[in-house]
């Protein structure tokens, strides 16, 4: 079997609304082990595990954790559950099926870094997950896993829920921080990074839901052992949200290094009506679009970077040959027009013009010059935008210009 269930191992087996059920299935064992050691030991284990952030950017987690642990004074830990990337539902599944694993991961991080306040920023539409997480926090508090003097170790940690309000960009770390502060979700100038100046300009560690859910496992089996799962550059497992024209859509967990083709055909049982795959979009709306012949590519952060994209959220959207690439691109780009926060010029103004240019192709009014304009504009938006939104939104355009150039030429008017 190519599946390897680590994060999802308790899905369906535990009652998400029962902390006892979680404990019965080895829950809070990682925390117990973590607090029996010195905080620095946890960070060492995280470093050894070589785990990279599961929110998409794939940044080495230990660097952020260590940076936060070195900051003095009040600091925050934030769980980014603003899963807004189209095609992704892994964070929702974790929160709905095994919510305590997230809380456990956050408490471990609080112990490791000395943060006493945590937030879970949940996408506004995820009402069920939000209710579950609220109940989970209450249960953890009742058991003494949250609150004052946890496990009599003299460390305190509280978690509060913050609801998103329907803005995609709030998944971007600084927009999320602004939103937690009660401001409109608009990014900030980097540096300073959140671990230096985050919420209320205090040090803040932001990790994705899946990243937090990995910590109990890393502590339980040890960083070295965790690092043996997956590939050299990408360790551990990855939750994959598989959707589109496949027979068996759903959430799958595979070790890094598994090929995309295997996920689609072995887990997803291939394309509906056994049609041909026209293209596959990886990661979500901000991910690359690749042709069928590239499906043997393995799921691996470094491989994704080949697309000038860091999107490794783990969505695979399969699109069969009934669809035109421009339908997909236009949908994506209209999405970004709506979701740009409007703060920086290339993102605010650029996406409008990208949609204009795409419409020219769709209406067979585009010239070769427009093709050049599109390519140029997509590159400029990617190179110059302030935050992750504009820096990744062009990935589908840029990859389609590389792998589906003929589709463009077919629409060009000579």
């Amino acid at each position: 079997m190519i599946e390897m269930k680590v994060i999802s191992k308790r899905f369906g087996k535990v009652d998400p609304l029962s902390i006892d059920s979680y404990i019965k299935h080895d829950g809070y064992k990682g925390l117990e082990k973590a607090i029996s050691n010195h905080p620095s030991h946890i960070i060492d284990e995280v470093e050894k595990s070589k785990i990279r952030g599961r929110g998409g950017a794939g940044f080495p987690t230990y660097i952020k954790v260590r940076a936060l642990s070195k900051e003095a004074g009040k600091k925050y830990i934030v769980c980014n559950a603003d899963e807004g990337e189209p095609g992704n539902f892994k964070d929702r599944m974790i929160m709905e099926n095994d919510p305590h694993s997230v809380i456990e991961g956050m408490i471990i991080m609080a112990y490791a870094t000395g943060a006493e306040q945590g937030y879970i920023y949940i996408r506004g539409e995820y009402q069920i997950a939000m209710n579950i997480m609220k109940e989970t926090i209450k249960q953890a508090k009742d058991k003494g896993f949250l609150g004052k003097n946890i496990f009599n170790k003299g460390f305190n940690f509280e978690i509060e829920i913050r609801s998103g309000a329907g803005s995609y960009v709030c998944g971007e770390e600084f927009s999320l921080i602004e939103s937690i502060e009660g401001k409109p979700g608009r990014s900030r100038t980097k540096p300073p990074f959140p671990t230096e100046k985050g919420i209320h300009n205090l040090p803040t560690l932001i990790n994705n839901v899946e990243t937090f859910a990995n910590f109990p496992y890393i502590i339980t089996i040890g960083g070295d052992k965790f690092a043996q799962i997956g590939t050299n550059s990408s360790t551990g497992t990855k939750l994959i949200s598989l959707s589109g024209n496949v027979k068996k859509k759903g959430l799958y967990e595979v070790p890094f290094g598994t090929s995309i083709r295997d996920v689609i055909f072995k887990l997803g049982k291939g394309v509906k009506d056994d049609r041909k795959i026209k293209m596959v979009q990886l990661g979500g709306a901000s991910g690359p679009i690749i042709p069928e012949y590239m499906l043997d590519m393995s799921i691996d952060f470094d491989r994704f970077e080949n697309f000038d994209s860091k999107t490794g959220t783990g969505a695979i959207i399969v699109i069969d040959d009934r669809f035109d690439i421009f339908d997909i691109l236009l949908t994506n780009m209209k999405f970004f027009v709506h979701q740009s926060c409007g703060k920086c010029a290339p993102c605010r103004e650029g996406h409008i013009q990208i949609v204009n240019l795409l419409n020219k192709f769709i209406n067979h009014r585009a010239t070769e010059k427009d093709l050049m304009s599109l390519e140029n504009l997509a590159n400029v938006i990617q190179q110059t935008s302030l935050c992750g939104l504009g820096q990744t939104s062009m990935t589908s355009i840029i990859s389609s210009l590389r792998y589906f150039r003929d589709d463009y030429f077919a629409k060009v008017r000579y």
Partner: protein, 572 residues
Amino acid sequence: MVNFKINNIDVSVEENTTILQAARKYHIDIPTLCNYPDLEIKSDCRVCVVEIEGQKRLFTSCSTVAREGMVINTNSPKVLNARKTIIELILANHDANCTACPKNLNCELQTLANKLGIDKNRFPTVLEVKPIDDKNPVLVRNINRCIKCGRCIDVCKNIQAMSVLDIMGRSKDIEITPAYGKYLTDEFCTYCGQCSSVCPVGAIIEKDDTDQVWEALNNPHLHVVVQVAPAVRVSLGEELGMEPGSIVTDKIVAALNYLGFDAVYDTDFTADLTIIEEGNELIHRVTNNGVLPMITSCCPGWINFAEQKYPDILDHISSCKSPQQMFGALAKSYYPEKIKKDPKDIFVVSIMPCTAKKYEAKRAEMSVDNVNPDVDVVLTTRELGKMIKQMGINFDSIKGEEFDKPFGITTGAAAIFGATGGVMEAALRTVYEVVNKEELKDINFTDVRGTKGLKEAEVDLGGTKVKVAVAHTLANAKIVCDQVREGTSPYTFIEIMTCPGGCIGGGGQPYGTTSEVREKRIEAVYQVDEDMSIRKSHDNPDIKALYDDYLEKPLGEKSHKLLHTHYKARNK
């Protein structure tokens, strides 16, 4: 020190220097748009991007700190293309009808487009035309020209602590506007005009009243007089191509005569008058257990601010009208008597460094006959510059002339009204000598000079050491006002000016007013003071003559009617 390369030039700068700062130090030009010297780094426009070797993305030089060993290229093809593309994108969503814009040839976006060689735009316009906010007498907000750089938000929030403007909406619908898309009149706007001063384009500008002045000048029935504020003589030159800090007093007089004004007067005269009235008011308050500290009242932005935000401390504010309004009142009462004209035929124009003065002149209480305004039209320094250009006057070569009488003689004390601390210093020069009945050994109160936001000094008045304070910008005004409100203010007399640097940094001053420019104007202000033969208001013989001839005595009946006013709480 950090050593790195920009465009193959070895560069060495202090730690924590941004790439932009480093480049400027080495005379390497990196274009910027949202960046403004005295304001926050926003990195919103992305125009100042540069290429850092080894990095795929481009980085904004304004916000990226230079690191050892960096290899930076500020004008590689990739950078130039990105910059050009961004400006084209901005232009495609901007009302780029340049000749129909007051900022034409004075617009940072236009200049940048020109510099980058943009003579056509690859992108079609996507501008959705929205209504213009011109419902107030002072500022016009034309959102169609706004490029969302955020400078106005920054100056309003961080310098003035007002936060009238903010970003609304998101993406392409983003708008910089008062809350809930209201008009400026609905908001706590003091009309200080600092937003218009920093706007790189023509999105916020003062209401243009030059046509009214042309009309008056061309009306043979009207006797049109003009007064020139102290701060204008050290700044108008910039508007007409001269160096910051150029003193152009006599050239202004000549130009105004050339424009056809019947008489050209100096607001400095009524500034001296203000000192006499305000100084006596202070002495009166001190000796009669009056409300203290007393706060100056010359600055109309500050008065708007106090009436809106500090209605409970209004009795601390001097009842003296501002020099502009004292002049207006005299010009519509004493002056017509003197020249034997019907006050209705007198048309008063003032040239101010200020946008809020336009509002002040329109206040109902600023009218001696309770019908017509004492000051008919207020022009900013910029508007006067415009009229001089329209008339084709060669300002550089025009021969200087003198102000007209009877308000002819002025003092150095009045001249320094233009700089922060100036009113305080002028008042102290007079109050000290009146109270202590002895001549000041050194009339320069240097403690209250300079650009520090809050300044303090101690003066000996009749044997008691008295503390005074000077605040400029409303953020600093807030600090001293809170003390007054809480009853903890240690001061007897406070000067408050709305704009950074005082009137020389006013909202109506020439564009490009940065702290560097402000310093030069301040220097010029004190130069004017030093060059004056009389430097104390109470030594002004024309002021003495005015009291003998008409007003009788300071704080007298006529003074109260003409030179003093009252304030009332307002909720917007």
